[in-house]
């Protein structure tokens, strides 16, 4: 598998023929409890739900396309919950990168990320989110991040623009 699209809204499947499209509203997954047993014991997440499978697909993908509503400059709840479950993709030990402490990502293969955010998004929110994405690894080893923002009404047109990007 080359690519994966993770979305919180129904999108036309024919636009991303080379990708697996995961609609977060159609899969079942539990919230992370925040007890960090996965990090402490260096074991996979205790929940064996749909995210276990999606995580494997993500591991094999080289391009991850995230389609999400933006709320107050942050991903909306479905994607945020999904990303929280990704905590097991980090090394528990601290390291420093450019003098800043962090947990290194365990992923070996680096990935490209395309974020398509929709909603009423102000410039300030766009800037906040881009800064966040540049500083955060989201649990992956990232080679490049691109962002695109639009209103909910324009989403379909925007997706048509990006349809085929997965043929890379």
């Amino acid at each position: 598998m080359k690519n994966i699209v993770i979305t919180d809204k129904d999108i036309p499947l024919e636009l991303f023929k080379e990708s697996v499209v995961v609609n977060l509203n159609n899969i079942k997954y539990s919230h992370c409890t925040g007890d960090y047993t996965c990090l402490k014991k260096r074991i996979p997440c205790r929940y064996h739900d749909d995210i276990s499978v999606v995580s494997q697909w993500i591991g094999q993908a080289s391009l991850i396309i995230l389609v999400t509503r933006i709320y107050c400059g942050c991903f909306d709840t479905p994607l945020k919950t999904f990303i929280e479950r990704n905590i097991a993709s980090y090394e528990p030990y601290y390291t420093t990168v450019d003098g800043i402490t962090c947990h290194a990502a365990l992923a070996q293969q680096s990935k490209k990320i395309l974020l398509i955010g929709y909603g009423d998004i102000s410039e300030q929110e766009q800037k906040m989110l881009m800064n966040y994405l540049n500083d955060s690894l989201l649990g992956y080893s990232i080679s490049s991040i691109n962002t695109y923002f639009c209103t909910e009404g324009d989403l379909e047109n925007s997706l048509k623009t990006f349809g085929g990007v997965d043929r890379g």
Binding site: H31, C32, T33, G34, D35, L39, K40, K41, R42, Y71, C72, G73, C74, F75, D76, T77, K80, T81, I83, E84, N86, I87, P92, Y93, Y94, T95, T96, G99, I100, T101, C102, H103, Q124, E125, M128, N131, Y132, D135, S136, L138, G139
Partner: protein, 181 residues
Amino acid sequence: MDNILIILSGLIYTNKIMYNQAYKLSHYLKSNVTIKTLQVIKAQDVEDNNTIIFMFPISSQTIPSCMLEYMKNNETLMNHKTIYSVLYCDEYETDYCDYADEILSLYCKKTHAQYNGSLKIGAYFLLNHIPYTWRVANTLKSFASDIRKTKESALDITFFSKNRFIKEGNKFWEKAYKSKK
């Protein structure tokens, strides 16, 4: 002095650790303070209090999903409330909390609440393992004093030197790995 509500709004397991901190803060506030978790809070609890303090460790460097859900569903309740936050991160640099702080500030603007700032605490996994509990207590006291005076607040605290933090932090994870629990 207003009634104050401390909302433990982290991922469910983290509330256990936060409760101790919330209890200390409520002691320093010396007023009518209620502590609730997101899982049990009711609309009436928010309506009855004029000052709300959100207390949570950031997750994936931002607001925890359960809190985001709560924020979305309770926008109208926040109207004209005074809001503070206590943000924790497990890394050394409290800058990791900045994004969550910005989100809360934006949220308050959107809901016509008054955001009066935050206290950011770094290296929070080590809170119970460090010989500096008096430093945490002093910072909580200063924060409580700002809240009592309805002043804006922008405090932060972290522990050890960076090198020592990495050493102690990695010791913490190693110990957790070897522990039978």
